[in-house]
């Protein structure tokens, strides 16, 4: 089993900011890591450098301790699944899957055995003689996966591999890819802009922003303990309230609430509050022990299925509160009603103000 290490990886296309800017990252053997970020953050360039399709300007790529930076793609032994699958249209499924084995001069009997095994792994037995254009998107995706896996690559690279599938199929493929990855214990790097994919499939997620790694951590780390304003805004939904840092808390429109932050007293900050972690009660009602709260007025209610969103206007700004629709008690509040929005201080994090939140939550 082989791990992967990138150090100081940099790529510039022409003048201006680098597409990938001094990126360093370590992926353990058998680990499933996501490179998550908005489009243009450099994640695809990074993946192409890993595959050897783009030469880095600076930095090193090591696979299992071996420096592969200068190796061309055909000497790297990496399995890449392209966004549009890139199946060879002039070959049938079996020939597509066998291509990498043929390049490695595997005997034809062994080739047939390995191809059959790979197709069984992606549940496509019986499709050997089909042409790619005769397959559905999901089936093409599986062929691409089988073709990349059959060569026993040191590292599996997935480039937005699920984004061309419809929602239902995507969910199913998510589970399947995860299962196959676990079964083979293959080191995998998965490039995606979809945070749900990244969080649900991967062991760890590297959030990228402007060619740099903004934060690496488990899905829980990123969601519960975002390192900066960008990660907090990109991963999960969030309310943002402007305030001033005070010891152990934040001052919001004159009210002092408890919150987690590392800023100096008096610094302008933005407080992040996750909508589904907020609690709503009638004005004057007693909050839970140690709860921080803000008074406000209900502006609107909207029902979106599993949750209902209640928009509350407070002196510090507007807050969206999500309430489960189970039992129907979300109807307990009316528009214009005076309420109190409460939260536990441990989940409230403040970040220095002024950093633009580049991507929508």
């Amino acid at each position: 089993m082989t791990g992967l290490r990138l150090s100081g990886l940099t790529k510039r296309y022409g003048p201006g900011p680098a597409a990938v800017d001094g990126m360093s990252l370590e992926v353990a053997a058998g680990e499933f890591l996501a490179l998550l970020g908005p489009s243009g953050c450099g994640k695809t360039t990074c993946l192409r450098m890993l595959a050897g399709l783009v030469p880095p300007d600076e930095g090193r790529i090591e696979v299992g301790g071996r420096d592969v930076t200068a190796l061309p793609p055909f000497r790297r032994n990496m399995g890449l699944v392209f966004q549009n699958y890139a199946l060879f249209p002039h070959m049938d499924v079996a020939a597509n899957v066998a291509f990498g084995l043929e390049m490695r001069s595997v005997s034809s009997a062994e080739r047939a055995r390995l191809v059959a095994e790979a197709l069984r792994l992606v549940r496509l037995e019986g499709y050997e003689r089909r042409r790619p254009r005769e397959l559905s998107g999901g089936q093409q995706q599986r062929v691409a996966l089988a073709r990349a896996l059959v060569i026993r690559p040191d590292v599996l690279l997935l480039d937005e591999s699920l984004s061309n599938l419809d929602a239902k199929l995507r969910e199913q493929m998510r589970l399947e890819i995860r299962e196959i990855q676990r079964k083979l214990a293959i080191t995998t790097v998965f490039v995606t802009h979809d945070q749900v994919e990244a969080l649900s499939m991967c062991d760890r997620v590297a959030v990228m922003d402007s060619g740099r790694v903004s934060q690496v951590g488990t899905p829980e780390d990123l969601y519960e303990r975002p390192a900066n304003r960008f990660v907090a805004g990109f991963v999960g939904r969030a309310n943002w309230l402007a305030g001033i840092a005070r010891a152990g808390g934040v001052e919001l429109a004159g009210t002092r609430v408890a919150a987690v932050h590392g800023e100096a007293d008096g610094a302008a900050v933005e407080l992040m509050l996750r909508p589904h972690r907020l609690r709503l009660r009638r004005a004057g009602g007693a909050g839970a022990e140690g709860e921080a709260s803000l008074p406000g007025k209900v502006r609107s209610l909207s029902y979106v299925g599993d949750v209902a969103q209640v928009e509350v206007e407070t002196a510090a700004g507007r807050l969206v509160v999500e309430r489960g629709t189970d039992g129907g008690d979300w109807r307990g509040f009316a528009e214009g009603e005076a309420v109190e929005v409460g939260w536990s201080p441990a989940g409230a994090r403040a970040f220095p103000a002024g950093q633009p939140a580049r991507a929508g939550a």
């Binding site: 050897g52 061309p72 399995g79 890449l80 392209f82 890139a86 060879f88 249209p89």
Partner: protein, 285 residues
């Protein structure tokens, strides 16, 4: 629904009508006239006699000269279009691939010979291929030859000139046909362990095959009917069906013979194209 299905077949027919009429008038009608003329007789004095006889056609088949002529035309065309396609392919591939901002200019340059009159282009070849042309001057200067190599007024000269005159068309046809060549396919092959030469042979070339077939076909039709290049670069020594038709129609004024030759050429071309089509359909799928 009914209205739609009516429009479904009527509308395309209606749209094709102007072109169809124009073609029938400028193409179908003259061919019909030519076909009729080929059944006329030429009297010993050279006058044309209205008739409905097979004399002229039969005469063609009886004379081995015309068979040789046909073979000569086909051989020349096959060689010239194959050379043209082989030479154009790298150019077209480069033009298809390049991301240079000069790409549009380069494409125009590649097809710019079309802007020059065919006769003028052939005269350009005189300066290159003649006994005291650039090629022979170079060969003499390097000491490779004592006497100039005959590159004009012979088969070689016509083949060279024909190849060049076909290249703008083959480049355009290849460029149009390369549309489905996806860079990601070549990248996929290389990540699977294929060296660049293998990528070319296993992915790039097979996927360009439809484009190559298209270009070859177009070039062949143009080459068989080419007249200016064989006439001028061949002197009177290289004869093809096209030059012979010209000869008979405008010099000997034997119109039934010219018409019969033209009809034969039309049928021959049709048969060859049909055979080629059948062959490549199997090859390309």
């Amino acid at each position: 629904m009914k209205g739609w299905s009516m429009a479904g077949w009527r509308a395309p027919l209606l749209l094709a009508l102007p072109a169809g009429l124009a073609l029938a008038f400028v193409f179908g009608w003259p061919i019909a006239v030519l076909g009729r003329m080929s059944f006329n007789r030429t009297l010993p004095g050279g006058a044309m006699q209205d008739a409905f006889a097979l004399d002229t056609h039969a005469g063609l088949w009886a004379d081995p000269f015309y068979l040789e002529l046909a073979w000569n035309s086909i051989e020349l065309s096959v060689v010239a279009c194959t050379c043209a396609v082989v030479l154009s392919y790298p150019v077209a591939l480069f033009l298809f691939r390049t991301t240079s901002r000069w790409r549009p200019l380069l494409v125009v340059l590649a097809v710019s010979p079309l802007l020059v009159n065919g006769v003028v282009r052939v005269f350009g070849w005189f300066a290159v291929l003649g006994d005291r042309g650039i090629v022979n001057a170079l060969l003499k200067w390097t000491g490779l030859v004592e006497q100039p190599v005959r590159l004009m007024y012979n088969w070689t000269g016509v083949a060279i000139g024909l190849t060049e005159s076909l290249m703008p068309y083959t480049i355009l046809a290849l460029l149009a046909g390369l549309g489905r060549l996806d860079r990601a396919l070549e990248e996929a092959a290389s990540t699977l362990g294929a060296r660049p030469s293998v990528v070319f042979l296993r992915v790039t070339l097979p996927l360009s095959l439809p484009a190559i077939v298209l270009a070859w076909l177009l070039a062949f039709v143009l080459a068989v009917s080419a007249f200016v290049t064989p006439k001028l670069l061949g002197g009177a020594r290289v004869m093809t069906l096209a030059t012979e038709i010209y000869e008979q129609a405008l010099v000997s004024l034997d119109w039934p013979l010219a018409a019969s030759l033209a009809m034969h050429m039309l049928v021959l071309l049709g048969l060859l194209l049909a055979a080629y089509g059948a062959l490549t359909r199997r090859l390309v799928r």
